[in-house]
């Protein structure tokens, strides 16, 4: 099995994520397990307005990279290969945005 980070990007809304969306996220690990994958870890982030960036000595308000869709969270999943990982990552509940799937280094053991 290989490991991938799934980075979640969402268009931020003033009220934050809806209860339905949060509930759907809660069910995600089980749905992924049903399809032969595994969620190893997950992090949900506060809105990007709460972020603080550090570049050298300079501290600035806001995220490191300003984007229309802000990074909202990340989880690590285990999958057979990229096709499997993409199928699993596609299960991520998304309101208005998308995900990026990135292989993790250091897990190249067959």
């Amino acid at each position: 099995m290989a490991q991938y980070a799934v980075l979640i990007f969402e268009h931020e809304t003033p009220g934050g994520p809806s209860p339905e969306l949060l509930e759907a996220h809660g069910r995600l690990p089980e749905r992924i397990a049903d399809q032969g994958g595994r969620v190893l870890a997950g992090l949900a982030l506060e809105p990007s307005g709460t972020a603080t960036a550090i570049r050298g000595d300079l501290i600035t308000d806001g995220p490191f990279i300003e984007t229309k869709e802000a990074m909202a969270g990340v989880f690590v999943l285990e999958a057979r290969d990229l096709d499997h990982a993409l199928a699993l990552a596609a299960l991520t509940p998304i309101a208005n945005g998308g995900v990026e799937v990135r292989p993790l280094t250091g897990f190249g053991v067959m």
């Binding site: 057979r80 290969d81 990229l82 096709d83 280094t105 897990f107 067959m110």
Partner: protein, 411 residues
Amino acid sequence: MSGVEEAVAEAHRREWAYVLAATVRVTRDIDAAEEAVQDAYVQALSTWESSGVPDRPGAWLTTVARRRALNTMRRGLTLTEKLPLLLVPEETEMTVPAEPIPDDRLRLIFTCCHPALGQEAQVALTLRLVCGVATPDIAQAFLVPDATMAARLTRAKKKIAAARIPYAVPDAAALPERLDAVLTVIHLLYATGHTAPSGSSLVRDDLTTRAMDLARMLLLLLPADREVTGLLALLLAHHARRTTRTDATGRLLRLEEQDRSLWDRAMIAESDRLVVAALSAGPPGRFSLQAAIAALHAEAATYEATDWSQILTLYDALLRVWPSPVVALNRAVAVSMVTGPAAALAEVERLEEKGRLAGYRYLPATKADLLSRLGRHAEAAEAYRAALALSDNAAEQDFLVERLRSAQPTS
């Protein structure tokens, strides 16, 4: 070239994909397999000289390449690589197997054309890995520096390994979409060779030949697939007419000006047989429909005698399965032949308003042609000038300049 050199060159063209695909399966590392296969071809030059060309060159080369790759791997040279090994879903044979060696060419093609790779990378990988074209030759075909093409290939191969793009044929559910990506790459290769979007009048024959070989190989591997059948039919219908696209001086000729007696009738007949097979097996896809249109053009005795209403019907069907503005533009030409240039012009102007074809040189060129058929020469000249500004191909520019000259009132 000596007999043996010719045999090796022939085996390179015909067997490269087979040999590499079978070798990748044991190395699970594309670079290691490529190197072993190169070595096997070098060894063939000397061995075949002394002991004769084997009955099955592909099997001979595969056995040698696999043995070389395994020896290298045993010496630990490959396993020190940082990148993970390629994922081959089935049990991997670690010894040189007895015949027959399984045909892994489909795995190789689907890996090269995986949607997680950019289309430029898919095209480059297919030429390098499936066709065995040397990197500098690929660079030349796509008019980029050697180093750029080498970096593009390295980056793509790194992604295949690091992201674990599987070395596998997609399952039935994913197959149609994944196959469409493969067909698109082959069609793009052909189109690049055929129209040479920039540079001098040189038609990049090698690319068109490679694309034809690929389409034939794919049909051999997936004989029941309608769209694969359609793609080969489409390429054949274009290829049959390739020598008449320009005159002796390299000037582009319009379809109505081409000498139809020079078209390759055997190729057109083969295309026609494939079109019939592709269309009779179920609802046709975009390649089958394009092939049917190209075949109707190829079979017509003259431009005027072309079955335009049938072509228009096919364009309507094509637009339904593939709602692309480029298809809509081509459909407008058929409309002009069935209903007349005024109706076609209205459609082209609607497309122009939508703006999705901004920068597409065939839109003003088509519009110009319709305007001049309507006798609106000043507007036609303006449209030709717009097309000219968008073209970067010398033969095409000459063609447009000439059209512009004939559209302008003689002074």
